[in-house]
Symmetry: C2
Subunit: 91 residues, 2 copies
DNA sequence: TCTGTAGTTAAACAACTATTGAACTAAAGG
DNA sequence: CCTTTAGTTCAATAGTTGTTTAACTACAGA
C-alpha cells in the first residue's frame, strides 16, 4: 500500500520494449554488462542506451558498479523480489 | 520471451496511480464493482474513469460483465498469474 | 414518451517520453 | 600531451498520455 511512487516508476520503466530487453538479457545471462554490451542488445545509440539505463536505475531495477571509466550493470534483485516477485522467471 | 506487446501494455496500464488504485481495490475487496463505484475510489469524472478502465481492459487486467445498463468489473486473475505472479499480494 | 441513470466518445490541450545528433566529461594508454 | 574509449548531457522534435468538457448512446422506470 505504502510507496506507490516507486511502484509507478518501476512499471513505467518496464513498459518499454528496449528496457524489457535489457532486463531480460541481464537476467538470463546472469552476469554484469557494461554500457557498450547493453547497447548491442538492440541496435541503438550510446545516448539512447544511457537514457534507458537511467530509467532502470532510477526505478532501482538495476544497480551500477563503477570501475575506472567503465560501468557494470546488473539486476537489482531485491526490488524485483519486493515489488514483482516471480516476474523475472516469466521472461 | 514471446508476447512483449501485451507485456508492455500491462506495464503501461499499471504505471498510473489511479489504475493501480482501481486494481488494488478490486483485488482487496474481492468483488465486482460497477463504473460508479470505481469512480468513487478516486475523486474523478465518469469519462476519466471510463478512460482508465479501458486501459485496464485492453491490457487484460480486468474483465467486464455486462448486465442491462450496468457493467461490472473484476480482476482478470489469469493475466496476473501469467505475467506478474505474486504481484497482487504485494498491494 | 419523458426523465434519470450508466457509461462511451470526441476534441482540445498540457505534460511527458523516446529518439537523434552534437557537444561534453573523465580516465587509460601510448 | 594527445588520442581513444566509455559514458553523460543537452536541445530539438515527434509521438503518446492523462485530464477536462460537452455531446452522445442506451436502457429503465414513472
Amino acid at each position: 500500500m505504502a510507496n506507490d511512487e516507486l511502484r509507478v516508476k518501476i512499471f513505467k520503466a518496464l513498459s518499454d520494449e528496449t528496457r524489457l530487453d535489457i532486463i531480460r538479457t541481464l537476467y538470463v545471462n546472469k552476469k554484469e554488462m557494461n554500457c557498450g554490451e547493453v547497447m548491442g542488445i538492440r541496435d541503438t545509440s550510446k545516448s539512447n542506451t544511457s537514457y534507458h539505463l537511467r530509467a532502470l536505475k532510477e526505478a532501482k531495477l538495476i544497480k551500477v558498479r563503477k570501475e575506472a571509466q567503465a560501468k557494470y550493470m546488473s539486476i537489482e534483485i531485491d526490488t524485483f523480489q519486493t515489488y514483482l516477485p516471480g516476474f523475472l522467471d516469466t521472461l
